[in-house]
């Protein structure tokens, strides 16, 4: 319980201390730092991201069937790691999970549309973007 209180305190403090980002149009926003905090709290997502990069490559080559096969690896590994990842940052986990669901849905459609698949997969890549790189 002590650890839990400590962890949540640190979480809140780190969110509050996040520097406001000055966007291109001059507006000040707290959003990017909050999102970065969320995804960095999920830890290293690179093994999952590598699969998505493969899938994106296959879609670019027009191999939608191959992409569909490859994304199953992501589904299985992501599902297996749920109990390990989710407690780290439940909100961040759900964001990625929903994006994976949309990509799966696009690739598994009866007649998959290359453009829809591409958009879903690039959206997935951007939510998996490591902190500080976006």
């Amino acid at each position: 319980m002590k650890r839990l209180v400590l962890a949540s305190t640190i979480g809140v403090l780190s969110l509050m201390s996040g520097e406001p980002h000055r966007q291109a149009d001059g507006r000040v926003s707290f959003m990017p730092s909050a999102e970065a905090a969320m995804s960095s709290k999920l830890g290293d997502l690179s093994p999952f991201r590598a699969i998505v990069v493969d899938v994106a490559g296959l879609i670019d080559k027009g191999d939608l069937a191959g992409a569909k096969t490859r994304i199953k690896d992501l589904e299985v590994q992501w599902d297996d790691a749920e109990a390990g990842l989710k407690p780290r940052a439940a909100a961040g986990w759900h964001t990625v999970d929903k994006a994976i669901d949309r990509a799966l849905e696009a690739l598994r459609a009866a007649t998959p549309d290359a453009l829809t698949c591409k958009q879903a997969v690039s959206a997935l890549l951007s939510v998996m973007e490591p902190a500080g790189k976006s």
């Binding site: 650890r3 839990l4 589904e75 299985v76 297996d80 790691a81 109990a83 390990g84 990842l85």
Partner: protein, 260 residues
């Protein structure tokens, strides 16, 4: 045919087991197997959540029919039913959370109220909630309804602890273990046995899930790294061994009875 009627009118023996340490051991192990088994069919085999739920629900109905037809407690049928109730109870919660996007706060509250309503109706009809006198089909149906709701409630409350408090499996094992220890202490101090039994029944659901996760999750996440499949197979083997032992022990003690 005439010989069957006296048998039918004779009272049934208690259809559910005595609550012993082995009972809780099998119950906790069943929780994990129920959850990972369904997950395996849905994701690895690729049946999807809907087809898996449909399969599990029909298997549950078949097992329940078998369990209701027996006239006394038969370990393998009883525990098969528990594993399947565990699976379906978990899937009901997952369906509400993932598909219908119902908040875990709402589903936890709704399941808690449903459980309270189940006990209220059960008591109003039978004037007892005793699990030592599950000797009619109607009582047995109340019993299994309560079991199903405790699994759904245990899943929702456990998931809520993960989502809202960031409770991982290692800490979860400790938290739910301590809560169960409290219930055990209250039980020995003379608290209502029906209440403590069902509280422990709810709490062993997230405890079992945490234990399964600890063994199956990779070492990167602080687990032992056995993997889901190995963990489930190990647990399934232990369940079969314990159920076989309980069956054998039951036969032996019954055989000894007339001699005494």
């Amino acid at each position: 045919m005439s010989t069957t009627s006296p048998v039918r009118s004779s009272p049934m023996l208690n259809k559910v087991p005595e609550v012993t340490l082995i009972f809780w051991a099998i119950k906790i192990l069943s929780t994990t197997v129920g959850e990972t088994g369904a997950d395996y069919l849905a994701v690895h085999v690729g049946l999807g959540a809907n087809l898996t739920t449909a399969c599990m629900a029909s298997l549950l109905l078949a097992a329940l029919a078998l369990q209701l037809r027996t006239r006394r407690y038969t370990p393998w049928i009883y525990w098969l039913t528990v594993v399947l109730v565990s699976t379906v109870g978990t899937q009901i919660t997952d369906l509400l959370t993932d598909r219908l996007e119902i908040s875990l706060y709402v589903s936890t509250a709704v399941f808690a109220c449903t459980l309270a309503a189940t006990f209220t109706i059960w008591f109003a009809v039978e004037r007892t909630l005793s699990i030592r006198t599950i000797v009619t089909t109607r009582r047995e149906l109340f019993y299994w309804a309560a079991v199903l709701v405790t699994f759904a409630l245990g899943t929702a409350a456990g998931d809520l602890a993960t989502e809202a408090l960031g409770l991982g499996f290692a800490l979860g094992l400790v938290v739910f273990g301590v809560l169960i220890a409290f219930v055990a202490v209250f039980h020995t101090l003379g608290a209502n046995p029906v209440l403590t039994f069902w509280l422990a029944y709810i709490l062993t659901r997230p405890l079992g899930a945490s234990l399964g996760d600890l063994l199956s999750q990779s070492q990167n996440y602080g687990g032992v790294g056995l993997g889901t499949i190995n963990t489930s197979l190990a647990f399934l083997t232990m369940i079969i061994a314990l159920v076989a032992w309980v069956t054998f022990e039951g036969d032996r003690s019954e055989g000894a009875d007339p001699a005494q």
